[in-house]
Structures are given as structure tokens and as C-alpha cells.
Symmetry: C2
Subunit: 132 residues, 2 copies
């Protein structure tokens, strides 16, 4: 079962080369951090702050490619945790079909925040990182 | 007339927050620099060095989205210079049609280097920046 999440925090450290975001359950309190790169963290932060750019940034470009090719990003889904690495999918609706594209959670979340689509995490992943 | 270019140099400065790449004509000597961000510069450099990643990086993700949606990036085209800003297009072949998606040159070139597709610049832009 996918559980809808929201972006709770973005932690960008100037001194350490490690940034993370915290996702929190929309209908509950479970939450967990995901370590991401500085580029993706900055990209996500820009969106959350509502900063705009005169030219399409990389995650805008992704949205534009999908829509000009006739699809729509339906949501993003963090569906697996393996060897301390989270795996995500961009789920694209096109011609009545669902296309799932493998992505890092950082890109998936940057796309979700850019396009304002929901973020889901599988119950299995959530139970594993937060306990039951 | 589009003129085919190749990536000649990537200049990444640790001290200045300004990176640039140099594009050079494949069948000639004209060349010019484009200032790009550190993320795109690093992304392009990784590809040129043949470094691989266990997970899809952002420009890999773009390639995967296009192919899973049934298209193919044919080439990238830097077609305009306006107010000191270069404009580019990803040209995607899909169902016999050509879809042109507006992009920053840095993303366009990162995609071109990732997918090994040609980079073109319009003769107008090349003449403007290099002279006739």
C-alpha cells in the first residue's frame, strides 16, 4: 500500500557535504530522512521557497519533456530500500497507460515539488525505516 | 543552417563560482565558451571521463523518460542568443514527429554527452559570437 508523504524539512549544511530531506506521513506522524546531493537539495529548496527562474531548470525541463511528449507525471513512488539505498519511480500517465521510470528519490522528489504531484512511499519501506 | 559542434573543454574553477564549457565546430575552427552552473559542469565532466553511477543521475533520468515514453533524443540545438543568454532545444523524435523542448544549453549539452547525440549551433549564433 502506498502511503502519501509530504516534504517536512530540507536540511542543507554549508560545512558538511551532506544534505537531507525529511518526509512525513500526510495522515500520520511517521517520518524519515533521505540523504541527497547538494544540487537536488538546492533544487528542492528553490521550489519550496517559490523562487522562479527565467529559464527552465533541470527539473522543469523534465516536466516539459513529459508534457510535450503527451504524458503527465501522476505521482512519484519510493518503493524500495535496498542496501541502504532508496529506490523511486516517476509514474507517468500516457495514453491511458502508466509508465514507471526508475529514479533516485532526490530527483523524484524534486520533480514532485516542481510539478506539485503527490509523493508516496510503500508501506513496506515505511515500516522498515520507522517500525510498525 | 545548423553547424555541428563538439565539446572542446570543460573549465571548472574551485575558487570562482563560474564554470564554462567551450564548443568547437567539428568541421572548422570557430569556437566559443558558454558559462554554466557547477552542477551541469560536473555532470558533463563525469560523462566525458566515462564515470558511471550505480543509480541514474538526473540527465540519465531524462534519457530514460524519453525512451520509455517511446521517443528518442535526435540531437540538441543551440538556436538563439538573446540578451547574452543562449537558448537551446532538445529535439526528440517520436512517432515520426519532431518535438522541440526548450532547454538551457547546459542541460542540453549534458543530455547530448550522456546520450551521445550531436550538438548543433545555428549559423546565426555562431556568426554572432565568432564573427563570419
Amino acid at each position: 500500500m502506498p502511503v502519501q508523504m509530504e516534504l517536512r524539512r530540507i536540511v542543507i549544511s554549508e560545512v558538511q557535504d551532506q544534505q537531507f530531506i525529511v518526509l512525513k506521513e500526510v495522515d500520520g506522524d511517521r517520518n524519515f530522512p533521505i540523504v541527497i546531493g547538494i544540487f537536488e537539495a538546492s533544487s528542492i529548496e528553490r521550489r519550496v521557497k517559490g523562487l522562479t527562474s527565467p529559464r527552465p531548470l533541470t527539473h522543469d525541463l523534465i516536466g516539459n519533456i513529459v508534457s510535450q511528449m503527451g504524458g503527465e507525471v501522476q505521482d512519484v513512488y519510493i518503493n524500495e530500500l535496498r542496501d541502504h539505498t532508496y529506490y523511486a519511480r516517476l509514474r507517468i500517465r500516457m495514453d491511458g497507460e502508466l509508465i514507471e521510470v526508475d529514479a533516485r528519490p532526490s530527483d523524484a522528489i524534486a520533480v514532485a515539488v516542481t510539478l506539485k504531484v503527490p509523493i508516496y512511499v510503500s508501506e513496506e519501506v515505511l515500516s522498515e525505516v520507522c517500525g510498525e
